[in-house]
Symmetry: C2
Subunit: 676 residues, 2 copies
């Protein structure tokens, strides 16, 4: 084994695998290609190439209990190159998880627990959903970060109740993706030394040999990030890989172990080729591969020695039992902290949550402040942080603009825990790291950028929704109201386009109270991500009718009604005040109207039909007003939409609102045309 000269750790020389390890690794290979063959779809190359690495980690290092995949102090394991799902499923099956052979046979079939790519919540032992490359390692950075912070917060001398590692498998694809750059750079800066990444360096990606498009010196790149790099490890030597992992444990930096492997290893004709990557080997090549591996067993028949070799139930049960004993000691000495730890891991709300929210909302209604909703957001954070120590805020280098820090939050720095993360200009990395934090448990992550740059992190927002994780994405400067920075920075399509992501709540509050309710509901939705959209500019406080707070919680409500209303104006965020101005103007012209504020269409859409009908009115023409694209609003059977279907312009906000027709006069005229 060659060892990289800089900041790396020496490990033992490569040794050939023992017969026992060979058997275990080959079992992964065979089960993987048999399952892919049965599904007529899938990726045999990675499981066959990383089989020995899997054996090294899972039989010698990985601390977990198959009987309890939710054990709080388990090591985390991520297959960032998620197309290699059969590697993970094989390991889970062999190690004793509740993933019987029937599920392996049903690989990639509807409602099986063995989806095409690993999905958290579907398969026991899967820690995050992977497949979109690069995000798994970023999730791993989030988990390692959460582990460090949680340990700093809860551990007591001699009572390390939080003390585990995060292991990540990744491939060339993950390393090409920009999100791996963002997350790994941050991990290096923060020296997350309990993160161990194992790189499947097989020189192959889907298009063929990577030398044509990917020639980075990976060890050098990761050294530039401040990682501990263990280079040149023989990825087919279980002992060499194991020694590298052992060495990684002593580093004060995150470690990248570069494992030289052969994709599809074992397949006489496909090993080392792109063809091994993503298609079934086929009957003939499977026959040849079985011969080459000396594997005499039929498909889905696994010798008992394999199960014996992988079985982690006894070891894992003992590890968890030890931890339970430790935790019992902790609980005896620190009952308050122990209870709090349990609450945090269970995502429970604090006992005084409802009172805190109610009191704060009452205060908002009382103060009637006209401020930017981004400032209203910060005030809500300030209020709720008093009872939510799990708040872990952050910003992609726009802290002073996004206002996601608060008076008692300390910035997270290397060796110095805190409650607010300066993620740097890394929107995608931030969002994927947040998902990792949420998946780890113990914290409620939120992170921010300008709404337009939600584009950069869009797939991580989608992944939060798919995984049902409580990541809260704060997006400020939510319209042309951003002003002079111009069209590159002004959101036009973003509010609506976020609304199209299934399972995601999108809030665009209109004033201080709506902002505070949005935050409260986002916190309470423990199995759903939320995006909170806030204005750069001041928005007037809205006088509300009785019951309005419940209406905000329902996503939409009648803000201002008029006897004999002839039309309904629907609006969100900064346009609600405009709608009220138009209502007033129309009233002066003898046209009574109703104004409905819809801070969250997704929440509103989940309400009972009769509630929605009562709010929207029936038989009355409707007009929607929002400083964004118009297409979305037709679902509410409107007659017209006052919106923007072009890009913005660079000018002061007030000039722009006028330029784009966001005036009481234009809204009033549109309403009158809709009535006519």
């Amino acid at each position: 084994m060659t060892v990289n000269a800089t900041s790396s750790t020496a490990v033992s020389a490569s040794t050939p695998n023992s017969p026992g390890d060979t058997l275990l690794a080959n079992a992964i290979r065979v089960l993987s290609f048999d399952a892919v063959e049965a599904a007529k779809s899938g990726h045999p190359g990675m499981p066959m190439g990383m089989a020995d690495i899997g054996v090294a980690l899972w039989t010698r290092h990985y601390r977990h209990n198959p009987a309890n995949p939710a054990w709080a102090n388990r090591d985390r394991f991520i297959v960032s190159n998620g197309h290699g799902s059969m590697l993970h499923y094989s390991l889970l099956h062999f190690a004793g998880y509740d993933l019987p052979m029937e599920e392996i046979r049903n690989f990639r079939k509807l409602h099986s627990r063995t989806a095409g790519h690993p999905e958290v919540g579907i398969t026991p032992g899967v820690e995050t959903t992977t497949g979109p490359l690069g995000q798994g390692i970023a999730n791993g950075v989030g988990m390692a970060l959460a582990e460090w912070l949680l340990a700093s917060e809860f551990n007591k001398p001699g009572l390390p109740i939080v003390d585990h590692r995060t292991y990540v498998f990744l491939g060339d694809g993950c390393l090409m993706e920009g999100v791996s750059h963002e997350a790994c750079s941050l991990a290096g800066t923060l020296r997350l030394n309990k993160l161990v990444a194992l790189y499947d360096d097989n020189n192959i990606s889907i298009d063929g040999k990577v030398e044509g498009w990917f020639t980075e010196d990976i060890p050098k790149r990761f050294e530039s990030y401040g990682w501990n790099v263990i280079g040149g490890v023989d990825g087919h030597s279980v002992e060499a890989v194991s020694a590298a992992i052992e060495a990684a444990k002593t580093s004060d930096r995150p470690t990248l172990i570069c494992c030289k492997t052969v994709i599809g290893k074992g397949s006489p004709n496909r090993a080392g080729t792109a063809k091994a990557h993503g298609e079934a080997l086929g009957a003939e090549e499977i026959k040849l591969t079985r011969e080459a591996l000396g594997w005499a067993h039929a498909p889905f028949e696994i010798p008992a020695e394999v199960y014996a070799g992988f079985d982690a139930r006894a070891r894992g049960g003992a590890q968890e039992a030890d931890w339970n004993a430790l935790f019992a000691q902790y609980e005896a000495q620190f009952p308050t902290e122990a209870a709090e730890f349990k609450r945090r891991i269970a995502k429970g709300l604090p006992a005084n949550w409802s009172e805190t929210v109610a009191a704060y909302l009452a205060a908002c209604e009382d103060k009637k402040e006209t401020i930017a909703t981004r400032k209203a957001s910060q005030n809500a954070i300030e209020a709720y942080a008093k009872v939510l120590p799990e708040f872990l805020g952050g910003s992609a280098d726009l802290t002073g603009s996004n206002l996601t820090n608060w008076s008692t939050s300390k910035p997270v720095r290397v060796g110095q825990p805190g409650q607010h993360i300066n993620y740097g200009v890394r929107e995608f990395g931030m969002s994927a790291v947040m998902n990792g934090i949420a998946l780890h448990g113990g914290y409620l992550p939120f992170g921010a950028t300008f709404l337009t740059f939600s584009d950069y992190s869009r797939n991580a927002i989608r992944m939060a929704a798919l995984m049902k994780q409580r990541s809260i994405f704060v997006f400020t400067h939510d319209s042309i109201g951003l002003g002079e920075d111009g069209p590159t920075h002004q959101s036009i399509e973003h509010v609506s386009s976020l609304r199209l992501i299934p399972g995601l709540d999108v809030w665009r509050p209109a004033d201080t109270t709506e902002s505070a309710v949005a935050w409260a509901v986002a916190v309470e939705q423990v199995n759903r991500p939320s995006t909170l959209l806030f204005s750069r500019q001041n928005l007037p406080f809205l006088s509300k009718p009785a019951g309005a707070i419940e209406g905000i919680r329902r996503g939409g409500y009648v803000l201002s009604d008029a006897p004999g209303a002839k039309a309904v104006i629907l609006a969100t965020g900064s346009e609600v005040g405009l709608a009220l101005d138009a209502q007033k103007l129309l009233a002066e012209q003898g046209v009574p109207t109703r104004v409905v504020s819809i801070p969250s269409t997704s929440v509103f859409d989940r309400q009972p039909a009769d509630y929605k009908a009562a709010v929207l009115g029936s038989g009355l023409p409707r007009v929607a007003v929002e400083a964004g694209v118009t297409d979305f609003w037709w679902k509410y059977r409107v007659e017209a939409v006052v919106g923007i279907d072009t890009f913005g312009e660079s000018a002061p906000a007030g000039v722009l609102f006028k330029h784009f027709g966001f005036t009481p006069e234009n809204v009033a005229n549109t309403v009158k045309a809709a009535i006519a």
Copy 2:
């Protein structure tokens, strides 16, 4: 000056600026902070910090002609840290571009030519729109790539009609962004040695000193990409920077010049602080800064020596005249190539374009193939590539799945030009590089990935639309029809969410002919990007009525009508065949219906009202069918949408379509309910 040990080039030692250079640099500083002050908004820090670098590049190296910003062989210059727009505007103004002082005074005002961030098409001399960090350098990679390929294609011995450099200014923000990683890694692999990036290494980003979140060893990182790195340059020494640029010109690699600078240099109280970055200095600090710089002139009054020092009109005019003479020689010796070069630069279509398209569409109608539309796309590429040598295809490591290569395309490799780029697993980088290629001119870039991963590149797609560039984004595997790879890979919201981007055409064709029309229209839209969405699975060839091809060109048309139709079924892509099956079933049940295929809603929406009304029918209930989110379709006043508002599942495509209700029976029942 320290010089990095590896793969770097020695340059002369740092020397203090001459009085003349000091004057020029200070003129940039003063004009920038005065313009920001007048706008009460903007970013003085970067222009003040990079002023000397601007002087070095613009007075000693940058080859351009202010009188003709469209000169084909000009050097390209990009401010990737686009918030420093006033640096660029100052330079353009001083050098003699058509950007009078009146425009500088109107910085950030509506309809000025001095937008908050540089915008191509608005300001003469601006080569790309920047502001969303990291994309400018990626655009620069695309320009350098286009320059190399175009030179390889057109230059003749002694007649280098394409021979220029691409210079990029960038900052810490750009380097934190993942897209810089993706694009710069590719640039290193391809050894784009005419790319020179100048890094504003000032240790500051918006949140403060970057040491808390950004501690990369940048020279080492870029060496890992295979770049020539010139480290430790004094960014306030014009001569040192100039020498580094001179050294860069001799490298066989792209060059990164790391310039140590002080943000806001010149401002006594803000230099070196984050406060200098993004807010006006204020009257008091401006006074102190003027004193510190020894600048006696009033705001917007610039001494003649400054204009004299920067004036590039004579030099640039002579450079272009030399090139014109060279081109005349070229034209005399190679008239065909010269004409073709001019056509390519002007984005003209070849003379036989219409005939080629018509003949190919006739062949599609004749062959009646039932194939996947991704294959139909490849066939169209094959047909059109015969007359479009400007086709420059590519894929983010899914070439065999996206099918964006063709029989005569050669892969682009280091030192080996071609027509198809293996971008690696770098969707965002690919898309931003494509935009750079389009901006450079000479090529029509297209690049591909799975539709779901359009998320990764979303902001580059937006930027193509904002910049009105003909980048063609090919997205295959466009629905649950992708099958077993599961919900991480299945598009649900993407078709509709792309439709929300202003100025972007989205095509989702239903068969071979529609696919070929989509390609043709995308090629013809020279000032607009298009996204072409194709199926993984086979789609049946559709028998069409007379005039259908014109109807496809219009984005939507009556595919199949029935006398006395009682409802209209709208469908796109893979659901058009389903709509026809439902129509048949309904006919058997005595319910005549019309089926409308809408391959492009954006194109359809641009048609005259009477055409749209005729296609959609009036007074008839409408039902839309699309394997994606339903919200979008209500704008067509439908009664119901057969769609999917949850994530997909991992299973074979046929199973999934049934599972999610995409059956003739369900569509027919929905239509009957809509009629009732």
